[in-house]
Symmetry: C2
Subunit: 214 residues, 2 copies
C-alpha cells in the first residue's frame, strides 16, 4: 500500500530547510534552488508547496512563532499557579529573547523576515493582529499590577505595553548583532520591569535564568 | 584637461544606488548587477570601488548612520543652549525613529543590514564601538538627570540606557513593519521617558513633533 504523503509534514520539512539556509547564510541566500538542495527535494517539489517566496517566508515565520509560543507556554506553566504579573511578563519576554543557540537561529529568521516585510507591506499585514493581541495581553498584565498596587500608576498601561514589547524586540536585535552579552540584555529587561512594576518582590524572587553566552 | 575623478563621490553614488535598491526591493535584490544598473555604471566600476558585498553594505550603512547623526545634530542644535537631559534624549531618540519617508528609507537599509550582519559576526563587530559610545552618552544623560533630582534614582543608569536604546530600536522595527502609527511609537517613547526621568517639566514642554503618517 503506498504511503500517504503528509502534506503538512512536507511543508514543515521544506520550511525547516529554508530556516537553516536563512539562519546560516542570511536571507539573500534563500532561493528556491538553495532551499530545495537543503531539504533534499527537487525545486519542483518546493514550488508545489510554496508558489511564491512570500508564501515560503510567511510559513517559515509562522513555524518560528509557534516554537516561541511553545517555549513561552512551557516556561509560564513552570511558574505554577497564579504568578504575579511581573513574574509572568519577565518569564514571557525573557523567553522570547535570543539567549541560546536555538533561539538565536529562530531570531535570525525573524529578523530576516522583518527586513523582508519592511518593503512588502501586504506580507507584514499578516503579523499585525498577533502584535495587537500581544500588546493587549501585556497591557492587561500591567493594568492588573497597577490595580494590585504593585505598579506605577502614572503611566498609561497601553503606552507602557508598547514600550515594554519594544524593549524586548530591541534587546533581541542588539543581541543578534552581538553588541552585548545576554547578561546585559537581561539586566536591562529587569531594570525596565523595576521601573514599570516596582522592584521584584523579596522572598518570591524570579528564578535567574542561566543564559548561554551569545 | 581631463576631469579628476572624485573617488569618494563615486563611492557615494554607488552606495546611494545600493540603498535605493535595498529600500525599494529589499536586501535580497542587492546584487552587483542591480546596483550597477541603478547607479548607471558598469558592474566592473562597482567592483572597482567595492571588492565585496560586505564592503558595499558596510559603506551604505555608514552613509545611513552619518545622515542620522546629521539629523540628530541639527535637531539638538535647535533646542538652544543647555537643554535638559530629558529634552535632549527625547529629541535624539525621536529623530532616530523612522517617522517620515526619508527616515523610513534609511531605516529599511539599517534593518536589512542588521539582518545581514546577524549571520556575519565580523561585519557586525564594526558597529559595536558606536553602540557602546551611544549607550555611554545616554547613561551620562540619565546620570545627570538623577544628579539634578529629576529622575528615578533606584535604577542603574547603565541598565536604563540599554533599555532606552532598545525601546528606540524596537519601536523602529514595529514602525517599519507598519504595526502601529507614528503617534503610538512617540506616545510609548514619552511614556518611557516619564517612567525614567519623571513627567516632562511644565512651561518648558518639548515641542511636539508633527510626524507624517507611515
Amino acid at each position: 500500500m503506498p504511503k500517504r504523503v503528509d502534506h503538512q509534514e512536507r511543508r514543515k520539512l521544506i520550511a525547516d530547510a529554508l530556516m537553516r539556509v536563512a539562519a546560516e547564510r542570511g536571507l539573500e541566500a534563500v532561493s528556491l534552488r538553495h532551499v530545495a538542495a537543503e531539504a533534499g527535494v527537487s525545486s519542483g517539489m518546493v514550488q508545489h508547496y510554496f508558489r511564491t517566496k512570500d508564501e515560503m517566508m510567511t510559513f517559515a515565520l509562522s513555524v518560528v512563532r509557534e516554537r516561541g509560543e511553545a517555549r513561552v507556554t512551557r516556561a509560564v506553566a513552570a511558574l505554577g499557579e497564579d504568578p504575579s504579573p511581573r513574574t509572568l511578563l519577565r518569564t514571557m519576554l525573557a523567553e522570547l529573547l535570543p539567549l541560546d543557540e536555538a533561539r538565536r537561529a529562530d531570531g535570525r529568521v525573524a529578523l530576516a523576515f522583518l527586513a523582508y516585510t519592511a518593503v512588502r507591506p501586504t506580507v507584514a499585514a499578516g503579523l499585525h493582529r498577533e502584535t495587537a493581541e500581544l500588546l493587549a495581553f501585556i497591557a492587561g498584565q500591567i493594568r492588573a499590577a497597577q490595580a494590585a498596587g504593585a505598579a506605577e500608576t502614572r503611566v498609561d498601561p497601553d503606552r507602557a505595553a508598547v514600550a515594554l514589547l519594544a524593549v524586548m524586540e530591541g534587546l533581541g536585535v542588539y543581541l543578534l548583532g552581538g553588541h552585548y552579552p545576554a547578561e546585559t540584555a537581561l539586566g536591562a529587561l529587569d531594570a525596565q520591569l523595576d521601573l514599570l512594576l516596582g522592584p521584584a518582590p523579596r522572598g518570591r524572587a524570579v528564578p535567574p535564568r542561566r543564559p548561554s553566552k551569545p
